[in-house]
């Protein structure tokens, strides 16, 4: 029997307002095995933790139950407190009487009763706890960055600068990501390419960084410190080593009808192409779907014109297998599809465009060489309308429930730039709210309104209708003046919501990292561990975690890098001690457990056992504790109950069941 101390936390009034904490202590004090029980305002505070240590010393406690917030919050805190006082940290159990009790119940009597039962279950469990000691596993000193946008590049640079090998895997033919498509950046109006390109060059030149473009992560196995990843290098059809990047092939390529991804389909590119002039690597790829050689079997112009002999039509996908200690996800975002917003006539009129398309139009390397003109007829617009929150902050399931965060600022930027360059163009912005928290952001917005005369109207646009005269009729309501507006515009720009790159789902599954309902990767803790995934060794960089602008992305990229560096700097990791363990006297050696182990952590060996005097050679399951992650699949597959899980043993769980059902 353990000597158990129970500590009940008030959590200010978070718990104490609904749970009669003193009463819980009174009742629990009477439980067999409980030799100490007390309550305190904030158990997680220094003072609270000291109370645990004191009780361990004074009462000789061998087991601790803390009735407090979720174990996901402070289990580690209390385990460390117990450890400092000389108790094995795994002799601590948490009864979650906040998230699972006080916060969801209103009736004090009922909540108090439940808190007592949850405490009893924790006591029942801790009675069967055994001291556990973590094992050790090695750390491969190499990081993988999935995604080569500004987030991935920044993370890679920071990790590489700390002296660790980094590989970037980028799906498209070049690194650069969304930022490379932007024209200017707010609030400073720097040229995006001007600040991005040096970073791209730095990354490609960095001796510690290897860049895999036109490549995808195919398979991930292993665990923190020791991931094994298969990377599929898609066939580029161009020999990276031979190509000089002269660009002749692209010029001579007869197939020029492929929509340019870089220009959001607003212009065409050749079948052999680099996405943009500053692409890194400056090595083109052949888009086999549009290549005449691949489609029709005839052509071969590029091969003929290439003086370096770099064209290789026979090239095949290649799988590279590499080991990593840390993985950073930086898969970024895309703009949502506007199929659900037909009222804005995006599919009907070429002059209704998204903000990202406007970026390309405004850009000197864009489809209109930087001239603001209507895509339908090439005429200069006189009247421009911006519609905010298209698919963001949506109450129904037509769009996204969240705020895309960047739209207010880039719209102010667009409006300002247009008014600056084309002062005769009227700009009207329809908005729900203008959100400009951030350094120099509100000033920026006010300049757009006050200095550049952008017309901001609080109200929603109901409909955009193409008119026979080629213009667009915008019907909207002005909520402040409480009036209906009908106006004609030459161009309408939609601030479409952003969403995580759709591929992130596949990647999250491979990494066993959780994602939320909007496909954003989940943080280990929303506030305290925002750049870590709950899956150890996986870190989050950029918009894959949630909408953010460039400075925030770069800041987070650095934070993710620091977390990864913190991991890579270690030679060994302590492994989770809650691993499976096989009782050799009960094991049948039947291999059933190995069949369900996702980590290949179970092997078999023939060994002599002494079964109460009977000595015989038996085939026995052996768990590799460095590989075992403690899921427990094997424990249920094992019919004899030989396989058990430390920290969540059969008897512990059954004791909890019994305590709850009594």
């Amino acid at each position: 029997m353990q000597r158990i101390g129970v500590f009940v936390c008030h959590c200010g009034s978070n718990i104490a307002a609904t749970v009669d904490v003193e009463k819980v202590v009174e009742i629990i004090r009477q439980e067999p095995g409980v030799v100490h029980a007390e309550d305190y305002q904030y158990m997680c505070s220094e003072v609270g933790q000291a109370k645990i240590a004191d009780a361990i010393h004074e009462k000789g406690l061998t087991g601790i139950v803390v009735c407090s917030c979720s174990p996901r919050m402070h289990e580690t805190t209390f385990r460390k407190a117990a450890e400092r006082a000389g108790l094995n940290p795994y002799m601590v159990e948490i009864a979650n009487i906040r998230e699972h009790c006080s916060w969801i119940h209103k009736d004090v009597e009922e909540a108090t009763k439940k808190a007592v039962i949850l405490a009893r279950a924790a006591i029942a469990k801790v009675n069967l706890n055994a001291p556990l000691k973590p094992g050790e596993s090695r750390v491969t000193k190499r990081a993988l960055i999935i995604g080569g946008g500004i987030a991935g590049i920044q993370t890679a640079l920071d990790i590489a600068d700390a002296g660790y090998e980094v590989d970037i895997v980028e799906k498209t033919p070049s690194i650069g990501g969304r930022m490379s498509q932007l024209d200017k950046t707010f609030p400073t109006l720097d040229c995006s390419a001007c600040i991005l390109t040096p970073k791209m060059v730095e990354a490609s030149a960095h001796e510690k960084i290897t860049i895999y473009t036109y490549s995808e992560v195919e398979k991930v196995t292993g665990f923190v410190g020791d991931f094994t990843v298969d990377i599929r290098k898609k066939a580029r059809s161009v020999d990276m080593d031979k190509c000089t990047g002269c660009g002749v092939c692209q010029e001579k390529c007869p197939s020029k009808k492929a929509p340019s991804e870089f220009n959001r389909g607003l212009s065409n590119r050749s079948a052999i192409y680099t996405p943009f002039a500053q692409a890194i690597p400056n090595v083109p790829v052949i888009d086999r779907e549009h290549c005449l050689k691949f489609q029709k079997g005839k052509c071969g112009v590029c091969a003929k014109v290439c003086q370096a002999g770099a064209i290789d039509y026979e090239q095949k996908d290649e799988i590279v297998t590499e080991k990593y200690g840390a993985i950073v996800v930086a898969t970024g975002f895309d703009v949502i599809k506007l199929d659900n917003y037909d009222e804005y006539a995006y599919s009907q009129s070429k002059d209704v465009i998204t903000s990202l398309e406007l970026e390309r139009i405004m850009n000197a390397a864009g489809p209109t060489k930087g001239h603001l003109e209507r895509l339908s007829d090439g005429k200069a617009p006189r009247e421009m309308v911006f519609i905010q929150c298209v698919g963001s902050r949506c109450a129904d399931d037509r769009g996204k429930s969240y705020c895309s965060k960047i739209c207010c600022m880039y719209t102010a930027k667009h409006a300002m730039l247009i008014r600056d360059k084309y002062p005769d163009v009227n700009v009207t912005v329809f908005y729900i709210d203008v959100r400009t928290p951030g350094k120099n952001f509100d000033e920026f917005y006010r300049r757009a309104v006050e200095d550049f005369g952008v017309n901001y109207i609080k109200g929603q646009v109901g409909k955009v209708a193409p008119q026979p005269n080629g213009r667009l009729l915008v019907q909207a309501s002005d909520l402040l003046d409480n009036r209906q507006i009908k106006m004609e515009a030459d161009m309408v720009v939609l601030a479409a919501a952003i969403e995580p790159n759709p591929d992130v789902r596949k990647i999250a599954t491979m990494l066993t990292a959780s994602i939320d309902t909007n496909n954003f990767l989940t943080e280990a803790h929303a506030k305290l561990r925002p750049v870590e995934s709950p899956t150890a060794g996986v870190f989050l960089s950029g918009v894959c975690q949630g909408p953010k602008d460039i400075p925030e992305t770069v800041a987070q990229a650095g934070a993710a890098a620091v977390k990864a560096i913190g991991l890579l700097a270690k030679d060994k990791l302590l492994t989770n001690p809650c691993t499976a363990h096989s009782d050799e006297l009960l094991c049948n050696g039947c291999s059933t457990c190995a069949n369900v182990c996702p980590y290949g952590a179970i092997t078999y060996e023939v060994r002599q056992v002494n079964d109460h005097g009977i000595r015989e050679d038996r085939r026995l399951a052996v768990v590799n504790e460095a590989l075992c992650q403690g899921c427990g699949a094997c424990t249920v597959a094992c019919p004899s109950g030989a396989m058990d899980l430390k920290g969540f043993s059969n008897r512990q769980i059954l004791a909890e069941v019994d305590a709850i059902c009594q």
Binding site: R72, N96, T517, G632, A633, T635, V636, I653, V657, C661
Partner: protein, 147 residues
């Protein structure tokens, strides 16, 4: 069974929640103050695949009126495959319980992600309602445990 008895009947419900998704979902329900009846008591397990049919039968034996198992959505298991095994095991177990005449609905599996506090709360409300309508578990309980 009359409606009056159901109103006063407070079922005992055990919810096994996987640590990574559903337990976090329950935490989110808590921090979002999304209430559900106090009849539900949660047991934290590393993964839905840790739940042995024996645990479920034991809960019923000792007087539980309903048992629910929550895990990560298929495809999202923290351990990649655990919930797939749990899904097969529970399907067969539930089918067997149905076969021996245990009322359908006393057992349930629901996939709840860490972000689905709303779903967790709604599921628990629904499950408690269902168990209240089914009444006390008499077919799987041990006579000795009746109070």
């Amino acid at each position: 069974m009359s409606i009056e008895t159901n109103e006063t009947f407070r079922p005992k419900i055990v919810a096994f929640c996987c640590n990574w998704c559903s337990y976090a979902g329950a935490d989110l329900a808590g921090s979002s103050r999304l209430s559900y009846p106090a009849d539900v008591k949660i047991i934290r397990v590393p993964c839905s695949c840790r739940v042995n049919p024996m645990f479920i039968l034991r809960a019923f034996e000792k007087g539980a009126d309903g048992v629910i198992l929550c895990g990560c959505h298929p495809g999202d298991c923290h351990y990649s495959t655990g919930n797939y095994y749990a899904r097969r095991r529970m399907t067969l177990l539930f089918s067997m319980l149905d076969y021996i005449g245990v009322e359908n609905g006393r057992t349930r599996v629901e996939w709840v992600s860490a972000a689905e506090g709303v779903k967790f709360s709604a599921t628990m409300n629904e499950f408690v309602e269902k168990i209240r309508s089914l009444g006390k578990n008499v077919r799987l309980g041990d006579l000795r445990c009746r109070s």
